[in-house]
Amino acid sequence: MHNNTAVRLASIVTALGAALSAPLPAFAAAAVGQAAPAFSATDTSGKTVSLADFKGRTVVLEWVNPGCPFVRKHYDSANMQATQKSAAAKGVVWLAINSTHAGASDYLAPAALAGWMKDQGAAPAATLMDADGKLGRAYGARTTPHMYVIDARGALVYAGAIDNKPTANPADIKGATNHVNQALAETLAGKPVSVATSQAYGCSVKYAD
């Protein structure tokens, strides 16, 4: 037992030291393999949704922006909706997030965004509004779409593109490997994720300057 006490003491001191000495990052800190940053955001119906609400469940984060042709590539072809539905069937929580700032030309108010998602037949558990970009910056979301998979233990196990064909052409979806489907299958089977990061492609997330 003294082993535990001594080691615990040491780790507390180290953590304190690290916390005091590390500079605050300007953008992003989420790293694959580490704990996914906790967050709390409002969804399109005004409800507060936190990552902690889904403790013990696998969570997928999808950065979305209806104004982006790459997002539309995956929605018009029903690829994103199919990925969402297959994830939900496995008990995975899917959160769609929009980090477009209010002054951007393609900003959509919560009701409009919810309406678009409904029209598309999208099936996320919630669509979160992140107009101040806090959530996007915490995760280092750069593009729309940008996909993250968080496993049941709260670790980030995948960050990157939805598939491995970085184009705007819907015809490329069929032959591409869907990284999210693959990461979910591996995580739910308790296996390590084989492709844990990939080049996210799409339009840049419209953060405020």
Partner: protein, 704 residues
């Protein structure tokens, strides 16, 4: 009239059809004007290169991307369709511009851009013209992005000069980054990122801020600020790595653009050092959680080890194995309360007995270990014979206390008076007895001390065991030296007889436990055989030791007793032998628990499954307590199931070299040991405390 109009329409339609169907050299959109251009001042000559390219004129505020587009975007792609043998090279990208957008950074172009491509004309080329087809795709963005594409075609006449955009080509080729003559570059991976050192830079660059564009995407962080410094004509910059890095290249190229310069320079460098592991496997360490306990005992100073050994020894007195023996000594107090000196000496003798026994046992352990035996602490209780002897001893003591026989009647009178005349020897032997039974009960604090002791030089190891003994004897020693305690005890009287009988019961309880251990080791037959033996012994003890029986009767009973003892032994010994044959029980299977083996653990860890190993033994009371309390707790089992933890049990009740070695691997020498392996096979297991609490197990599982 209508016919004429129709004919006219058909004619115009006919004449416009070819232009509608065939792509030209220009594609115009609302954002760009893209044109397929060529530069062949000597025409298309066999063996001579020509230049082709895509010229993009961006509308104001719109931009396209470089080969490494940065945080978002896609580079322009060109797909050429050329005749057989005509090979188009890669795009000679002009020097890019840094395009910040909020917290993100892209690399690209705006205004007028030409992307030149060198085309090799094969030696045997003899055609009149070179048909060129191009399918180009580009992503053009302002604040919104529009992916666009165009199909272009051009028939390049072979024998005439073709260079309407000569100036544009010259400018584009001039603005392509050039190799920096005389510059040397190297890079190494540090904690804060990739440190790139470039020497031999042009003199007029010195002191200037330099923009560095990596040509490989997905490695470096594009937006984070970079530390750069000049040292003479050496420039060093540290670039943080991308938090979603998916490449670990050995070499990289980059374009350097000094402040105020328009044309960049290309530099290549090898990367030394190890890339941080790309996305480790599924297990996570929550950043705020405390570190898991190390699998090897952290280095203990000798003083600390001695202190812990002392405390551990003291706690041993509370263990059910020791308490009955201690109760004997408590009885002794009551008898000698008036004689303080005798009490003190008795206490010292007891202490001596305990300490010497511990040291003796330790010495034996070390000697046997040195001889190569896979032994651990408690090893003496892995032998059924030893347990049977102890059970017999306790039975006799219990019967004596209960009044079934008197030692005086059983033992030769000489021996009995020896005992009476040498109470010190009696105390010493009680101490020895206490140690013999206490040793397998590994108390908290003992584990690490013993593990350390096994690795120390003999003198220090024995010192630690001696400290353990001292700790165990301490309460009794303190009591015997403290006169107050002796005086608080009531004077001897009739109550003593009843007290004596009362103390028999803990003795018998210990016998029950020992019988159970034998049962674990040798099966129900062995346990029953032992009980029969004990019964026979009890009968003999009564026959020989109870006062008030005539000599003849005594002799007769004695013979019957001895005969039944022989019978019982003849049953017990073979039962023990049968069970002694190796087939080491490494653990009972059950609905939840599987038998442990080193190989099984390795298999499960390789498969990324978390594993919980319970190193236990039937003779270890702490283990049994944990087994029946915490490890049977419904919530704990549910937690195990929820996390897919495989439960393995390593049963050390009988000698098992593999388990002994595994325990040594944790720096431990005895049981219980509870090891929780996470799914990440690179991390050592968490070792839990010896007395498990539900909270501790659940917290440990949560930390997985």
């Amino acid at each position: 009239m209508r016919l004429l109009r129709t004919l006219l329409a058909i004619l115009t339609l006919g004449s416009s059809l070819p232009t509608l169907a065939a792509p030209g050299t220009v594609v115009t959109t609302d954002q760009v004007r893209a044109e397929l251009v060529a530069h062949a001042p000597q025409g298309v000559v066999a063996g001579q290169p020509i230049w082709l390219g895509l010229s993009i004129a961006h509308q104001p505020h719109w931009h396209t991307y470089w080969k490494n587009p940065g945080d978002s975007g896609l580079p322009t792609t060109l797909q050429w369709t050329l005749p057989e043998g005509v090979k188009a090279g890669e795009i000679e990208w002009p020097t890019p511009k840094r395009l910040p957008i909020g917290p993100l950074v892209n690399h690209g172009y705006d205004g007028k851009l030409l992307l030149p491509v060198r085309v090799e004309v094969p030696a045997g080329f003899a055609a009149d013209s070179l048909p060129i087809k191009l399918h180009a795709e580009w992503l053009v963005c302002k604040d919104v992005c529009i992916p666009e594409s165009g199909d272009f075609a051009l028939d390049l006449p072979a024998r005439a000069a073709w260079s309407p955009q000569a100036a544009a080509f010259d400018a584009a080729l001039a603005s392509a980054p050039r190799a920096l003559a005389g510059a040397t570059a190297s890079a190494s991976l540090t904690d804060s990122g990739l440190q790139i050192e470039i020497g031999g830079l042009p003199a007029d660059w010195a002191g200037k801020a330099i923009e560095l564009f990596p040509e490989t995407a997905g490695v470096l962080d594009n937006a984070a600020p970079r530390q750069a410094a000049w040292n003479g004509n050496r420039w060093t910059v540290t670039v943080p790595l991308s938090d979603q890095r998916f490449e670990s290249p050995q070499r990289m190229d980059a374009v350097l653009v000094p402040a105020g310069g328009a044309v960049g320079s290309r530099i290549g460098f090898a990367i030394a050092g190890n890339w941080p592991k790309l996305a480790p496997a599924a297990a996570a360490v929550p950043a705020a959680a405390p570190l898991p306990a190390a699998s090897t005992a952290p280095p203990l100073g000798l003083a600390a080890a001695l202190l812990f050994a002392l405390i551990g020894g003291a706690i041993l007195n509370l263990m059910p194995c020791v308490f009955p023996v201690l109760s004997l000594k408590v009885l002794g107090f009551a008898g000698h309360a008036h004689d303080r000196r005798a009490l003190m000496l008795g206490g010292v003798a007891y202490t001596a007995g305990v300490v010497l026994s511990f040291i003796g046992l330790a010495a034996l352990l070390l000697v046997l270990r040195a001889g190569g035996e896979q032994l651990g602490w408690g090893f003496q209780l892995q032998s059924p014979a030893v347990i049977a002897v102890l059970a017999a001893l306790f039975t006799l003591i219990g019967l004596n206390l209960a009044g079934v026989f008197e030692f005086g009647s059983v033992l030769p009178s000489g021996l009995a008076s020896l005992r009476a005349r040498h109470p010190l020897v009696d105390s010493l032997l009680t101490g020895v007895l206490a140690v013999a039974v206490a040793s397998p009960c590994t108390a908290p604090f003992m584990g690490a001390s013993l593990g350390l002791a096994a690795t120390l030089p003999a003198a220090e190891a024995l010192a630690i065991f001696g400290a353990l003994g001292l700790g165990m004897a301490l309460p009794y020693l303190a009591a015997s030296l403290w006169p107050g305690l002796a005086r608080t005890l009531p004077r001897p009287g009739a109550w003593m007889a009843r007290f004596k009988v009362l103390m028999a019961f803990p003795m018998f309880a210990t016998v029950v436990w020992l019988v159970w251990v034998i049962g674990q080791q040798t099966g129900i037959d062995g346990a029953a055989a032992l009980l029969a033996t004990l019964l026979a012994m009890a009968f003999i003890a009564w026959a020989l030791g109870t006062p008030g029986i005539g000599q003849v009767a005594r002799a007769a009973f004695g013979v019957v007793g001895v005969a039944s003892l022989v019978l019982a032994l003849s049953w017990m010994l073979p039962a023990f032998q049968a069970a002694a044959s190796p087939a080491p029980r490494t653990g009972e299977a059950g609905p939840h628990w599987q038998p442990w083996s080193e190989q099984r653990v390795a298999e499960l860890r390789a498969a990324g499954k978390p594993v919980f190993v319970d190193f236990t033994a039937a003779w270890c009371v702490t283990c049994q307590y944990n087994k029946r309390s915490t490890l049977a707790n419904a919530e704990v089992m549910a937690d195990f199931a929820a996390r897919g933890v495989v439960l393995l049990r390593a049963d050390w009740t009988r000698r098992d070299a593999a388990i002994t070695a595994a325990l040594a691997g944790f720096g431990r020498n005895g049981v219980p040991v509870y090891a929780l392996y996470g799914a990440d096979s690179a991390r050592p297991p968490q070792i839990l405390a010896e007395i498990l609490s539900v909270r501790e197990v659940r917290d440990a599982l949560a930390r997985l």
